[in-house]
């Protein structure tokens, strides 16, 4: 395969960054969930948050 280094670099950077970002979002969510009562986390009851 030609340009293998570029391919690995491009897909690799995307994979790493998206994974890191996804993990950070999930972890921020977990940290916050602990301090919020369940009724405020409305996706537990309705899956499509809508406008107030």
């Amino acid at each position: 395969m030609t340009h293998l280094g570029y391919l690995l670099g491009g897909w690799g950077v995307a994979a790493v960054l998206l994974t890191v970002y996804a993990v950070s979002v999930v972890r921020r969510g977990r940290a916050l969930s602990v301090s919020v009562p369940e009724d405020k986390r409305r996706w537990l009851t309705s899956q499509n948050p809508t406008d107030d």
Partner: protein, 266 residues
């Protein structure tokens, strides 16, 4: 306060978990299509008979092109939600705008990086000044870096929401002008003549690109959903804190040694 239910407190829901699994499966499928099933881009030059084209570098486009489109979708959504916030002034719009802008900026960064990596073997340069789409995307990226910087300041949440909304709207209004000016700036643009236009779009290449759009749209939706919920939780945690602080402050008044003798005065 701890979560009364036994399940771990997360931003997940059955729907988002299903979406997450489907996204992972889609990513695997996309990798197979992009690296195994599709052919490299090789053409024969009509006069010299040499082999030309992007060769295997074309496989970067299955990542780059869908992400580029979704970046613009994300920023449009951010601007739309910002306008919604300025009209309706309800937190839902603000949290949506913030989430879309943040996820969009992650995508935009990747678009710039993968574009640059792709450009090196194909255009023989990491960076092409004067390329309209490249420059427009870079300026857009920088404007939203500013947006996120503003969102990270310790301002009153509502002041911040209003200002950020204006920044996002101005960024989108400014974008056509950026695009115009770069286009006029140099009458050359590498993008049009050497990407999709000249790429021999075979059935499978096109199909893979379409799968790429779908899969990255799913990635985007999953991230957006969870990022929205983080924003919503931040808001709820803030309200919770305020409610506790009000209670505490009222207790402080009761403990001040002055008899509470207010009552209705009118």
């Amino acid at each position: 306060m701890t979560n009364p239910t036994s399940s771990v407190a997360t931003t997940g829901s059955p729907g988002s978990r299903a979406l997450g699994l489907a996204t992972l499966a889609g990513l695997v499928g996309l990798l197979v299509l992009a690296f195994v099933l599709t052919e490299p881009d090789v053409r024969i030059h009509p006069s010299t008979g040499q082999e030309i084209g992007q060769f295997d570098a074309v496989r970067l486009l299955y990542l780059h092109v869908p992400m580029a489109v979704i970046t613009y979708v994300a920023y449009s959504l951010a601007a739309f939600a910002s306008a919604g916030y300025l009209i309706k002034r309800t937190p839902w719009w603000d949290v949506t705008a913030h989430a879309a802008a943040e996820v969009g900026t992650v995508f935009c960064f990747l678009v710039l990086v993968t574009g640059s990596i792709w450009g090196r073997p194909v255009w023989n340069t990491w960076w092409e000044w004067g390329d309209v789409r490249l420059m427009t995307t870079l300026i857009l990226f920088l404007m939203f870096v500013g947006y996120l910087a503003l969102r990270r300041t310790a301002a009153d949440p509502r002041v911040q929401a209003r200002r950020a909304a204006v920044v996002a709207l101005v960024a989108i209004v400014d974008l056509p002008l950026v695009n115009r000016s770069v286009e006029w700036w140099e009458n050359r643009t590498l993008h049009q003549k050497s990407t999709l236009g000249e790429l021999k779009i075979e059935d499978l290449t096109l199909f893979t690109l379409m799968v790429g759009f779908l899969v990255f749209l799913m990635v985007f939706s999953w991230l957006l959903l969870h990022r929205f919920r983080v924003g919503w939780l931040t808001l709820a945690a803030g309200e919770h804190q305020v409610a506790a602080a009000i209670k505490e402050r009222r207790a402080e008044a009761d403990g001040s040694g002055v008899a509470s003798a207010v009552g209705e005065t009118s």
